[in-house]
């Protein structure tokens, strides 16, 4: 009994210490965002003198953050719509339509599941150049959507296969076209799977800096992660502003995670556990 108590004390002590390690830098980031640069240097760990939102307003307007934010929303949103449309249609065919070679089509999509698209960046870069898509959001949207296909097809095919096939047949007998059977009968049933697929894809795209770094030159087209690098170069000495920028950049995903951690976790673990 006594050893149990001791173990509990040690365990909770260790878990708490680790929680500090994981959260303290983030808490410090938020608190520091409210301080003036002078305050940061004089009083690094104390609470700020005022909780004014002024630094955030400055980042939002002066450092072009509103533009970066809008670009990020548009790029990830459009990529999601594109990948969900293409992947759910392809998965429907693979899971539900009888045709020869569908196993090969499935393997074709799955082949990319472990291959990082970054390693094809040079041909991709020249392809985008030939298509005149460099320095447009479409270069990012097509790249993200294409790279999301393998995992999305894998997950959606699994879900569609788990639905009873009679549903489609009944819909067809009732006079639905194949497309209506897909759109009106099957797709609504895999809505949770679509949410999972959306989250699997959304997180890395929202946070990506690599492709914007190579594809985007105009400041007005930059997404948040790339915008951050510009912003850091410009305001190197204004630490208050830098911290405010980091908080603003992180807020959307942290909020999303805290608000829907269940779906978030399901989405992020789906690939690894099922694969």
């Amino acid at each position: 009994m006594a050893t149990r108590r001791l173990w509990d004390v040690l365990l909770y002590g260790f878990l708490t210490a680790m929680a500090v390690v994981f959260v303290a830098p983030l808490a410090l980031m938020v608190v520091t965002a409210f301080k003036s640069t002078r305050e940061i240097f004089m009083n690094p760990f104390g609470l700020p003198a005022s909780w004014s939102l002024e630094p955030f307003a400055r980042v939002w307007s002066r450092a072009n953050f509103s533009v970066y934010f809008r670009n990020s929303v548009w790029v990830t949103g459009a990529s999601l719509v594109l990948v969900l449309t293409c992947a759910s249609m392809a998965s429907y065919a693979i899971a539900r339509l009888p045709f020869r070679g569908r196993q090969w089509v499935y393997l074709f999509f799955l082949a990319g599941i472990m291959v990082p698209i970054r390693l094809g960046i040079l041909p991709l870069f020249l392809l985008m150049k030939q298509l005149h898509l460099l320095n447009t959001h479409w270069a990012l949207i097509f790249t993200y959507a294409a790279s999301g296909m393998p995992m999305s097809v894998f997950l959606l095919t699994g879900f569609l296969r788990s639905l009873p096939g009679e549903l489609r047949e009944a819909a067809r007998i009732d006079g639905c076209t194949e497309f209506q059977a897909f759109w009106k009968v099957m797709l609504p049933l895999v809505r949770p799977a679509l949410a999972t697929v959306a989250i699997v894809n959304f997180v890395p795209w929202w946070n990506d800096m690599f492709f914007p770094l190579l594809f985007i030159q105009s400041d007005r087209l930059k997404t948040i992660p790339l915008g951050m690098t510009i912003f850091f170069g410009q305001y190197q000495t204004d630490w208050g502003l830098l911290f405010a920028g980091m908080v603003l950049a992180s807020l959307p995903l942290v909020a999303l995670y805290l608000a829907m951690s269940r779906q978030f976790i399901a989405g992020l673990t789906a690939g690894a556990v099922k694969g």
Binding site: L119, I121, S250, V273
Partner: protein
Amino acid sequence: MLDRWLGRRIHLAFLLPGMVLYGLFMVYPLASSLGYSLFEWDGLIREGFAGLRNFRTVLFEPPYSVRFVGALKHNVLFFAMTFAIQSTLGLFFALMFRQKRRGFGFFQAAYFLPYTLSLVVVGFLWLLLLNPLWGGFNQLLRLVGLGKWAQPWLGQTRTALVSIILINAWRWLGFPILVFLAGLQAIPAELEEAARVDGANAWQTLRHVTLPLLAPVMGMVTILTFIYDFNAFELVFVMQGSNGGPAYSTDLLGTFFYRTAFGDSTTGGEPGQIGIASAIAVLMLVMVAAVSWAGIRLLQGRQVEY
């Protein structure tokens, strides 16, 4: 209408958009990397066939070979340390959190939080925290009387790479914990109960029942970690620049590739060695493919049913 017109070939209409998107923007670029690496390039213009000359340059001719081997070693250390941390600490946390005791939900959420941050934010945040003069980390050391340990963590070759690996682990660890936990929760309770009924103690149950059943999930996470770590780029780029400073001590295959392919504006290096850069990409692709293929074969060999 489309239905009637296509008839029995309706599946083509469903497959086409996805095939075109994925084929054009993913399969084609990855496949043609190989082709690129076999040619001589002048800027963006392809010249004569080079055979394996680009590979020979990367592997055997300084300065490329020196940088390649250096970066490869750093990537291996990157993976090895990350793997060690997630297979010990990460597994321990997952085993604890499975017990669903008071406060564990909070700890789990707390440990995962850094994973939601962009690597760019993580890099900049730690760059400021580790600033030798004003950064919170050294200030904290001084505050608790360990001031003699305060040092420019990112500015000296001895500590820079390990610092970056630990920062990456700080952000990453929540993910393996989450996946291990999902894997543990998928193990039916009866199996472990049966072992306990048969007289196994907690350690024996863990060692002979739980861990073997979790092995496929751990294997999968290891493969994902490997792929991820072999493509690491952002942290070093943001914190140390594309040269992987100081003195190339944090140079990774990702930054080496980037410099070779797109040049380095900060030091005025020669931009656009497309042939050589493609050879580096192909070598990385081969390593990633070989390791994940071997890993998956290994996993299939020990697939468990329950």
